[in-house]
Amino acid sequence: MIIEQAKNVLTIEAQSILGLIERIGPEFEKAVETILKAKGRVILTGMGKSGLVARKISATLNSTGTSSLFLHPAEAIHGDLGMATPDDVILAISSSGHTSEINRILPILKNMGAKIILFTGGLDSPMADISNIVIDVGVEREACPLGLAPTASTTAALAMGDALAVVLLNQRRFNKDDFRRFHPGGSLGERLAFKVKEVMLTDDHIPTVPLGSKVGQAIEEINEKKIGATLITGKDQRLEGIISDGDLRRALINKENIYEMKVEEIMSLSPRTIDEDETSAEALGLMELHAITHLVVVDEQRRVKGVLHLHDLLGREGFIPNAAINSATRTHS
């Protein structure tokens, strides 16, 4: 009985979403175009459970590149309407289309010049009449008995909100960099929010050999520090070049007995650098742009302050930022 009831609920909720598929049409396209053209933000509004759904859709829009905020309909008539501008698009959610608090604010917002998109099952409701775009999220039945709580209808509205957010994301060609910008709290985003100086390798962890050293010495340094490269420094730790695993491979192919050669004979002369106060996101962008895995952190006089490997940005197991451990020992595997 319990399993049967649970299955019934899930079936009803699943059907509520499947039922939306056939109804996606020109109105949805108009909604997307309206939001894309808008100079302002998308302001979500809804009461009760629909309000909670509106909050979630607002959060999803913000995460995916569409500036959005939530306006509580009851607070709106006590002053919060001031947050809306004629450039904004209002996205109202009401299962029945008869929610009195929303009915009170929509005419004001429309008079202001804001475009109104409505998610509702009440296609012939007053709210639908006043809205510019009406998206049908009606369901055939609710899963919860006696109307104690909206269930299938809120699921449908939530799913339609996700559809809108994802389509907007694709239309805006929202990319990985944008994602980083909008996800500072996420696992990857959290790392990328750190300053370079907080994640770079410093002091003894920097693989470095002085100018004039033999390549064999550089190989030992690369082997010991295990980041696939060593810096070549001159006077006052100024950066002169870098030898990476790739440089070594190329030298082995073209030259004999590289162990006895001087590092300056095979090093790359212009390693990519970054300032220690830049963000990790910026560092990752540079690595992607130049298809490299290392950045050297230098000061204004090109003195080496640290080195950054791609793995430090994407996260090693047990990664703890420098800010927390203040240059404590780290072992890279």
Partner: protein, 328 residues
């Protein structure tokens, strides 16, 4: 023909009251209609189960509608009448006779014919049948699909449900505005899918328990509303208009929960023999003249006593309440 949108909400499956002489109890019917109509979105006359429609010949149904019209003229809600007879010709004849009543009485209210097509016709050719019917009967149809009812026929058809593909064809006729549905949840989903291109097409729960468990957004056909129309009204409002109850807070949910339990308990009691138990209770309440039914039923005294006790507890049982709500 003026096309109507089928109502949404509570459709009361009205019992058919009889006098001792076997005629339609007009005053009783009107008292009952006056009692339930303020709380309903439609009333359903001569329904196959509660309304004993299977036993009502054309003349009975004509008389029933004639007696109902004076009461219903004062309420802005539609009347649904079951027009099905044993065969296609009789069903058509009944519908035309009922149409004559409306014309004779000058009834201006909304009215829908309810038909159970599989009672007398197979799935094959149904769309053509309705094309022909719609051109002569002058009012829109609501179809009735009830597999158990069809299974009970002495000469059951191969299929006891309207085929989904057939329904899809049927709803292309604008005169077919809704469907009273009994059956499995899966079939309900398929029917809804078939009807999506008609946004105002209604699919009502033909079984109260279905609606109480997982309310459809069109509404329900309720027999219990003969006894407890206010309670059903509240449940309907709660289920179909989810945002309109703020005034009832903070105990809205508790109220609805208790009412839901009440209606379930009530249903459990009258399920044994719905029509006689409802009639006996309404008769005891002084609303209808007699509890006479068209067929004999087993002893229902115990159920009636339990029902009375339950209704008293919820304030739905009282001769005074029933008398003051009469307008005739």
């Amino acid at each position: 023909m003026q096309l109507l949108t089928a109502p949404r909400g509570l459709i009361v499956d009205i019992i058919t009251p009889f006098t001792k002489g076997g005629a339609i109890d007009g005053p009783g019917l009107r008292k009952l209609l006056n009692r339930v109509s303020p709380h309903a979105q439609a009333v359903f006359l001569a329904s196959p189960h509660t309304g004993e429609g299977k036993s009502l010949h054309t003349e009975h149904r004509v008389e029933l509608l004639e007696q109902a019209i004076p009461a219903m003229a004062q309420y802005p809600i539609p009347i649904l009448v079951w027009v099905t007879q044993d065969n296609e010709a009789d069903s058509r004849r009944t519908t035309i006779a009922l149409k004559g009543v409306i014309e004779k009485r000058g009834y201006m209210g909304d009215l829908f014919w309810v038909d159970t097509p599989l009672y007398y016709h197979s799935n094959r050719g149904l769309p053509d049948l309705y094309k022909a019917l719609c051109s002569v009967v002058g009012k829109p149809y609501i179809l009735h699909n009830d597999p158990e009812f069809i299974n009970g026929l002495t000469r059951p058809l191969k299929r006891n449900n309207i085929r989904t593909a057939v329904l899809k064809e049927l709803i292309s006729l604008k005169e077919i505005t809704g469907l009273i549905f009994s059956g499995s949840l899966d079939r309900a989903h398929n029917y809804h899918k078939a009807c999506r291109r008609r946004p105002n097409f209604r699919i009502y729960d033909g079984e109260e328990l279905h609606f109480l468990d997982h309310p459809s957004t069109s509404g329900v056909v309720s027999l219990g509303a003969n006894l407890a129309p206010k309670a059903w009204e509240k449940i309907i409002q709660s289920s179909l208009d989810l945002s309109a109850h703020k005034k009832d807070y903070p105990d809205h949910l508790r109220q609805i929960w208790e009412l839901g339990d009440y209606l379930r308990d009530m249903r459990d009691i009258y399920l044994q023999a719905p029509t006689p138990i409802l009639k006996e209770t309404l008769s005891d309440m002084g609303i209808i003249e007699t509890p006479i039914c068209t067929s004999q039923f087993e002893d229902t005294r115990e159920s009636k006593a339990r029902l009375k006790e339950l209704m008293i507890r919820f304030g739905d049982y009282g001769r005074r309440e029933s008398v003051t709500s009469q307008s005739d």
